[in-house]
Amino acid sequence: MGKATRAAFGEALKKLGERMPEVVALDADLAGSTNTHLFAQQFPERFFQLGIAEGNMVSVAAGLALAGKIPFAASFACFLTGRFEQIRVSVAYNRANVKLVGTHAGVGIGEDGYSQMGLEDVALMRSLPNMLVLQPADALEAEQAVEAAARHVGPVYLRVTRQKLDDVHASGYRFELGKLDPLRDGEQVTILATGGVVANALAAAAELAKQGISAGVVNVHTLQPIDQEGLLALAARCRQLVTVEDHGIVGGLGSAVCEALAETTGVRIRRIAVRTFGESGTGEALYEKHGLHAAGIAAAVAEFVRSGAPSRASA
């Protein structure tokens, strides 16, 4: 088991602070959880502890950005994107160069329950025209995504996990902003996954291979703008796609893929995501309940392939 992407974010932000003096960080009484405390220890004068007042934090970050700083404002994904009105006007409409970092994504956080789970955050951030939305799948990718976010001029939403994640990339991996990241080839079906469930998708593909189903896996780290060209090329090769994400069923990766392909292609798509409010439990138990664990993904993909193949062939 590798690191949590929030841990990788905290370390990357601290490193970035050394190289980019214009980088500043803001937190709302969760620095020890989001890991901005690492930056705060190193650069106390460039860290702003704003207390449990996330709306103010978002707009203060916008002001810092409009005055030339590169602010990283972090909180739990739900509390941060819950200040949607501030993000919408202070940040997005102003084209303010703010990097919003939402940690504790999805039901994967486990025991704390629904009120602490970011489950609508991607939907909210994708609804803003100029918001770059990134979700790394492991620590190595998270570190590079933080750098890419800092270098990108404009608002960014970076979504990271509370829980530790298995590495899905080898050490030489180079993060390419805006591009699909194919991890495994497959012919019958391709699983598009993002964030903390990418490793589960890879495990599911391995399980499916044993059942004689050839499933590819693509990591989608850039959720907005989604790689339309890459998706169309993928859809031309593979007519069956399954999306997997630890996020609500509305507005996340599944929606982005459907929106990108529905107008121009006739591919079949199955979406795996969270369809209810979250609740307390272990992260593993919740992944099992929502079918986001490897076995759940494998079962859904197998059912999808079996149910779809004959009718498509005869169509």
Binding site: V24, E45, R46, F48, L50, G51, A53, G55, N56, V58, S59, V60, A61, A62, G63, L64, A65, L66, A67, G68, K69, P71, E85, Q86, R88, V89, S90, Y93, N94, R95
Partner: protein
């Protein structure tokens, strides 16, 4: 009151020319009424109440440079009560930064004079506002940046009184108090009237002075429609150290036009041709005190 082209205005010229500021205020009122009438919609009441405040800022207090809205050392002015933005467009027209003729494009498709301020399309607007409650936080972020950089600029935010009902204003107030940001001056346009009625009936702000003081602010209370009170207050705010300053500016909604004064009916309604003519006549005659 010279506006010499191409040079940076020094902050606080030694002798404020109050007669010139009053003339400018009168012209700004005419511009406000004419542009809102031309647009057929807009917010005259809260634009007119803030005229002396904005005149004193642009023509006495702010450091800014002709034709260079992005000058790094400029003072920043955030109009947080975004619906009052015609008062700023009027000041920019008087300053020669936008043609007077352009004022009639207010709220039209393709105009940079948006109904509420747009920063990206019109850099003289330091920030997009109008979703009330956010501007003080934005100004605070700018002031923190000024301090971090050891930059010479100060930041000013103009808030509505009704806006002070928004929780975020007090989040920002608490935060500015924590950091003792003396680079920041807030001005509350306390015209006592908001869209639905009187502020004291909708959700009373009082005791407003005590609220700001308890959040760690230096508080000045003035008649905000009297340039001879606005200018010294802005100067005193500049001299204050270790605390942000808020100027609670008691004003009159719709100031300068008798039938618009003190009523919420003119919060967000444009005058028709006949009303415009009457309003302009009053402003030009200085029939109401402050003209």
């Amino acid at each position: 009151m010279s506006m010499s082209a191409g040079t940076a205005r020094p902050a606080s010229p030694s002798a404020p020319d109050y007669a010139a500021l009053r003339r400018i205020a009168r012209t700004m009122r005419e511009h406000i009424l004419e542009m809102i009438a031309a647009a057929g919609s807009g917010h005259p009441g809260g634009s007119l109440s803030a005229v002396e405040i904005v005149a004193a800022l642009y023509f006495h207090k702010l450091r800014w440079k002709k034709n260079d809205p992005s000058w790094a050392e400029r003072d920043r002015f955030v109009i947080s009560k975004g619906h009052g933005v015609p008062v700023v467009y009027a000041a920019l027209a008087v300053a020669g930064e936008i043609p007077v003729a352009e004022l009639s494009t207010l709220r039209r498709l393709g105009s940079r004079l948006q109904g509420h301020p747009d920063h990206a399309g019109f850099p003289w607007m330091e920030a997009a506002t109008g979703s009330l409650g956010q501007g003080l936080s934005i100004a605070l972020g700018m002031a923190l940046a000024s301090r971090l950089d050891g930059a010479p600029y100060r930041v000013y935010a103009l808030l509505g009184d009704g806006e002070c009902q928004a929780g975020q204003v007090w989040e920002a107030a608490m935060c500015a108090g924590k950091y003792g940001v003396h680079e920041l001056t807030a001005i509350v346009d306390y015209n006592k009237v908001q869209l639905d009625g009187l502020v004291k009936d909708i959700l009373d702000l009082e005791p407003l002075r005590a609220k700001w003081e308890s959040f760690g602010w230096n508080v000045l209370e003035i008649d905000g429609n009297d340039v001879e009170q606005v200018v010294p207050a802005l100067d005193r705010a500049t001299e204050t150290r270790g605390k942000p300053t808020v100027i609670v500016a008691h004003t009159t909604k719709g100031k300068g036009v008798s039938f618009m004064e003190g009523t919420h009916k003119w919060h967000g309604v444009a005058p028709n041709a006949e009303e415009l003519a009457r309003a302009l006549a009053e402003v030009r005659a200085g029939a109401v005190q402050g003209g």
